[in-house]
């Protein structure tokens, strides 16, 4: 396992809330895909049924944090400053995927964009733009 792989696995394993949602991640080179398997307890609207919007937001925020852990070793876990989420389609009872793109990783601030999709990557169900306070290790 690469260093980035080790950091990713240990991050997701150590966060109780990531386990509560059932979030996993796969790394291919430097490209990470986060995976949220469907489970009954993530449903928000039982009529449609649809995944809770808050869960999709939480999943995308966790994807951004995971991508930051892959990008560089950090002295401590990044802190979320703000997020802005757009909901495009309702989350169906299917596996959800997300990929994050770090627009800038500075000495203190990181800007990250995330997209979540289900069956079709080109038809995302939600997007997130977030700012994070980071502390990259200086080595």
């Amino acid at each position: 396992m690469s260093d980035a792989d080790t950091r990713l696995v240990s991050m997701l394993d150590s966060i109780p809330y990531a386990r509560f949602l059932g979030i996993k991640a796969e790394l291919a080179g430097d490209e990470m895909t986060a995976v949220l398997p469907f489970a009954q307890h993530i449903v928000g609207n039982p009529m449609l049924p649809a995944i809770h919007g808050g869960v999709l937001g939480a999943f995308m925020e966790m994807t951004a944090l995971a991508q930051l852990s892959v990008a560089a070793p950090m002295k401590r876990q990044p802190r979320t400053i703000d997020v802005s989420i757009e909901y495009l389609r309702s989350g169906r009872p299917l596996t959800t995927y997300a990929r994050a793109s770090i627009k800038k990783l500075g000495r203190r601030i990181a800007n990250v964009h995330v997209e979540a999709w289900q069956e079709t990557r080109s038809a995302p169900i939600a997007t997130l733009r977030g700012l994070f306070l980071v502390a990259p290790s200086e080595d």
Partner: protein
């Protein structure tokens, strides 16, 4: 049945009937006049930073979304389906480990198709927030959609060009 009683029933249905709200243990402490006050109890499963025991930002996101939705229902005279269009959250500080988190949401504007909501999450004092949120909701979001609509296979993407149907 008064409007307030009906709103309380909607809040209970949204907490008990929504598996995610139930899994997180959401309860509605107050509801009425376009305002909803909800609580999520602190527990180890929802920790986001294992070093400090602070709850995950995502839990606050879900609480703010849920509280905002209930505030929209509390602002409407009759029930209609709603869906979050967008949600923006500023995280001011970490919630204190061990404390329950509250969210107070206010639907300050309703138009025919959109509702606007502001919300604050806090642990001890609403004047010292953990996070603030701003959300918009679409009203009558499942117009024409029947229960179980999401269980059917998805439609093929609509063609955007001027294809002529034969």
């Amino acid at each position: 049945m008064s409007d307030h009683e009906q709103t309380k029933l909607i809040a209970t249905a949204m907490n008990e009937g929504s598996p995610q709200a139930k899994a997180l243990g959401f309860t509605t402490l107050e509801i009425g006049d376009a305002v909803a006050l909800l609580k999520v109890p602190y527990r180890p499963e929802i920790i986001g930073d294992p070093e400090t025991g602070v709850i995950a930002g995502g839990v606050v996101t879900t609480l703010l979304d849920h509280a905002s939705g209930q505030a929209v229902h509390a602002a409407m005279a009759t029930w209609t389906s709603i869906a979050t269009l967008d949600l923006r959250i500023d995280y001011m500080r970490a919630a204190e480990p061990g404390l329950d988190v509250m969210a107070r949401a206010h639907c300050y504007k309703l138009t025919r198709s959109v509702a606007f909501v502001r919300a604050v999450a806090y642990d001890r004092d609403p004047e010292d927030p953990v996070a603030t949120g701003q959300a918009t909701f679409m009203l009558d979001s499942s117009a024409g959609k029947k229960a179980g609509a999401n269980l059917k296979p998805s439609r093929a993407p609509r063609t955007k060009t001027g294809a002529v149907d034969q």
